[in-house]
């Protein structure tokens, strides 16, 4: 199996600048700080919703929907495979011992 993390558009090249700044060890920029602040602000209301017992079903549904959306957003894994071309359609579990008979 071939790892496909280096594929363009697979997400590796779309890291936010804040993470680059942190990893590089350099001082975080203002934009990065503001991004972190906004993220923390966004997280807080969600925690409140989870702790609220008045409507236990709705938040769960929302969380489930979010989970589904995240799963849908994830691109399917892409493999690099050597290709053998056949003159005719080929089915799984096919066996070709008759190579002398123009099967392939």
């Amino acid at each position: 199996m071939f790892p496909t993390g280096l594929q363009a558009g697979s997400g590796l090249f779309h890291l936010p600048m804040a993470t680059f700044a942190k990893k590089a060890g350099g001082p975080p920029t203002k934009k990065a700080e503001s991004a972190v602040k906004t993220e923390s602000k966004k997280v807080k209301p969600a925690k409140k919703e989870q702790t609220d017992d008045s409507e236990p079903v709705a938040p769960k549904k929302a969380a489930a929907k979010k989970g589904k959306k995240e799963e849908e957003k994830l691109p399917p894994p892409v493999y690099k495979l050597y290709t053998l071309k056949f003159n005719s359609p080929i089915l799984p579990f096919a066996k070709f011992p008759l190579t002398q008979n123009k099967y392939i």
Binding site: Y82, L91, P92, A94, L98
Partner: protein, 187 residues
């Protein structure tokens, strides 16, 4: 060697490689004969193909959509598939019987070819117990990879389809020079 897929492009054109569905295959050499075989039900959809290197980028492909009509209960699913398997086995016998009776009217050249091909093909095994144990079976060997009953059912269906596909391809292939004149004469 890397993983290999076998795939058919429409009109054998590399330009139409995108979105073609291929299967994982293995190539081995036995007694100086190249054997190509597939041992997996997995299929892959080609996203891009490089005709220089013969490598393609592909992703998993599954269009069975079994969840829409199959029962959610595992036991009910197994019952339904067992019933379908029984019907499939009956169909196999009936179809072979009819085909044998119909083929007798074809030219001897075609009949000989059918005999030769039918003898070399592996017939599908309909007995589920002869396949890898199901994951639902208790006490299975942990070293044996777990296979669901539905995957076993799919394997039998694929093998049955492959059998007839190979037979008809060998007999009626348009590039089969030895059979084509016989068919033309017969028609």
């Amino acid at each position: 060697m890397t993983r290999i897929i076998g795939v058919h492009f429409p009109n054998n054109s590399n330009q139409q490689a995108q979105d073609c569905v291929g299967i994982e295959i293995e190539i081995a050499k036995k007694n100086n004969i190249t054997v190509v075989e597939s041992n997996s039900h997995k299929r892959y959809k080609v996203k891009s193909y490089d005709e220089v290197t013969n490598f393609c980028m592909a992703e998993d492909f599954d269009d069975t959509g079994s969840a829409s009509f199959m029962p959610t209960d595992a036991d009910k699913t197994k019952d339904l598939l067992m019933s379908e398997l029984f019907e499939l086995k009956n169909l196999w016998f009936v179809f072979n019987k009819k085909m044998n009776s119909i083929l007798t009217i074809l030219p001897a050249e075609v009949l000989n070819r059918y005999d030769m091909v039918a003898k070399t093909l592996q017939t599908p095994v309909f007995d589920v117990t002869r396949y890898t144990p199901s994951s639902t079976t208790p006490g299975i060997d942990p070293l044996v990879p777990e296979v669901t009953f539905q995957e076993t059912f799919d394997e039998i269906v694929y093998k049955m389809a492959q059998y007839y596909f190979s037979v008809f391809q060998a007999i009626f292939a348009k590039d089969n020079d030895s059979v084509r004149p016989s068919i033309a004469d017969f028609l």
